[in-house]
């Protein structure tokens, strides 16, 4: 956030600006498809919000549900998991396991009080750079509207 200069520090300017909530989203991208798409989106100079912190995994099925839960427990507002389209997994059947896991995880997290839009599973192939940037943009806005998760606040009253 830009600091106001000394010259501008009049009483009127000292009131705090309303800061727009910037969601922190963790993105698990599989190396062969979705991470490759993110790479190409970068070299193609596509514009999209910077709110997703990308973690590369070799296959989307590497994403243990514990990773997602831990991300939320430690401050994330949203988690994106992206892999190859069904039938195109580089390791043949990994993404079928991802589909089952993330579907069951979303159902479980709903019982923990999570809104559905906070966890998103997408199939993005290596060439789908526009889909990639659209998913990032769309998810950022959806999580922004949901507001911060602030999981740690759940433990303030003991």
């Amino acid at each position: 956030m830009a600091d106001i200069t000394t010259a501008e520090k009049s009483p009127a300017k000292l009131t705090k600006e309303v800061v727009r909530f910037e969601p922190r989203i963790i993105g698990f991208l599989c190396w062969w498809c979705s991470y490759a798409a993110s790479d190409m989106a970068g070299t193609s100079r596509l514009k999209y919000p910077p709110n997703v912190s990308i973690i590369r995994v070799m296959c989307s099925s590497r994403v243990d549900p514990a990773f997602v839960m831990r991300a939320f427990a430690e401050g994330a507002d949203g988690v994106l998991i992206a892999g190859c389209h069904l039938g195109e997994c580089h390791y043949v059947s990994g993404n079928y396991k991802t589909a089952a896991r993330i579907s069951l995880l979303k159902k479980t997290l709903a019982q923990f009080g999570f809104e559905d839009d906070r966890i998103r599973l997408e199939w993005i192939s290596a060439g789908e750079i526009r889909k990639f940037s659209k998913v990032i943009t769309d998810m950022t806005e959806k999580v922004r509207n949901l507001g911060p998760l602030n999981w740690r606040e759940n433990f303030e009253p003991k």
């Binding site: 839960m69 589909a99 159902k107």
Partner: protein, 331 residues
């Protein structure tokens, strides 16, 4: 076993507990006589009338071995956990509740106010027109009466104090309890912080059934728990068994009785969150290559959170249902 010169000072305490762990210590049968010859009881609320003031008067580290069962649900449990840590040489978290929160920790799916509303106002047999709820302090006839404070979130013992050893199980199986007692009495204990009396693999390792790697057509509800194939893995037959995500050591007694594992020995070695691992295991075992079929089969699992975190809510990353900022009612 050799008779030590002095008898060990033994204590057993219950926090948020059903009393099953206290009873389970008798499952060792006649071996309780051996324990009696080796140890003197200095605290055991379930069976003896020691008072807290007696315990406070003990010197520090007076109690040689303290078995603490039950979860930490209120300020009394927390206070006594600190007291017993001071007064004990070896403090052991005995049973699923003190190890991982256990059944009491399922209360973490509700807020304190929701629990009070249900218990003191809404339950069908309750008559409470004055809307009385327990308070922590009340004055009556000039006397001040105190009750412990009810915490919002149920915790495990190791969240409150340093714990020397953990004995898992709801309750710990007879062989687990006895092998833990043997280790303690013989002094052959693993490094502090270890799980004792249990194995280092998953229940699948002890299970007599076999994996045939067939596709799960559908998941069954408890009233459908008779497995068509008596030799095949229960999970493969659509009966949700937590064996793959649960520590071994119980000799798979539930499966040997025709029932699926409930997960009471907690997560496997090196795993922190048991529920997350079970979600992962179901994903691995489904054996479907049809996106719609996968979704349809997963949709049949009712209450995954309660099933997979039945014993380990306090030993998980999320710990509880969201309290702050949730917009919708929990389904």
């Amino acid at each position: 076993m050799e008779q030590p010169k002095e008898k060990l000072k033994l204590g057993v305490y219950w926090a948020a507990s059903c009393g099953g762990c206290d009873i389970s210590m008798l499952e060792i049968g006649e071996k309780i006589l051996t324990v009696d010859s080796l140890a003197d009881i200095v605290l055991w609320p379930c069976i003896a009338d020691f008072k807290y003031k007696d315990v406070k008067a003990y010197p520090d580290k007076y109690i040689d071995v303290m078995f603490f069962n039950g979860a930490i649900r209120n300020s009394e449990a927390e206070e006594i956990a600190h007291l017993l840590r001071e007064k004990s040489k070896i403090l052991i978290a005995y049973g699923s509740c003190s190890y991982g929160g256990g059944i009491p920790a399922l209360a973490n799916f509700y807020s304190k106010q929701e629990i009070f509303d249900r218990a003191y106002h809404e339950s069908q047999s309750t008559v409470n027109p004055d809307r009385i709820e327990p308070k922590t302090k009340h004055t009556e006839n000039g006397y001040e009466l105190y009750l412990p404070e009810f915490w919002e979130t149920v915790r495990k013992l190791s969240d409150i104090v340093d714990v020397d050893y953990f004995i898992p199980g709801c309750p710990p199986a007879e062989n687990t309890t006895w092998s833990a007692i043997e280790a303690i009495v013989s002094g052959q204990l693993p490094p502090v912080g270890s799980i004792i009396g249990a194995g280092n693999k998953s229940v699948c390792d002890e299970c007599p059934r076999e994996r045939k790697e067939t596709k799960i057509k559908r998941f069954k509800r408890p009233h459908e728990y008779v497995a068509p194939d008596p030799e095949q893995c229960l999970l493969e037959q659509g009966i949700i068994c937590l064996g793959p995500a649960t520590r071994s050591g119980c000799e798979a007694r539930c499966i040997n009785s025709g029932m699926p594992c409930r997960g009471c020995y907690g997560p496997c070695a090196d795993v922190y969150d048991q529920g997350a691992k079970m979600i992962s295991a179901i994903g691995s075992v489904l054996e479907s290559e049809d996106g719609e079929e996968i979704q349809r089969v997963i949709d049949e699992i009712m209450d995954p959170a309660g099933l997979f975190y039945r014993f380990s809510m306090s030993h998980s990353y999320l710990l509880r249902r969201r309290l702050v900022g949730a917009k919708e009612e929990m389904k």
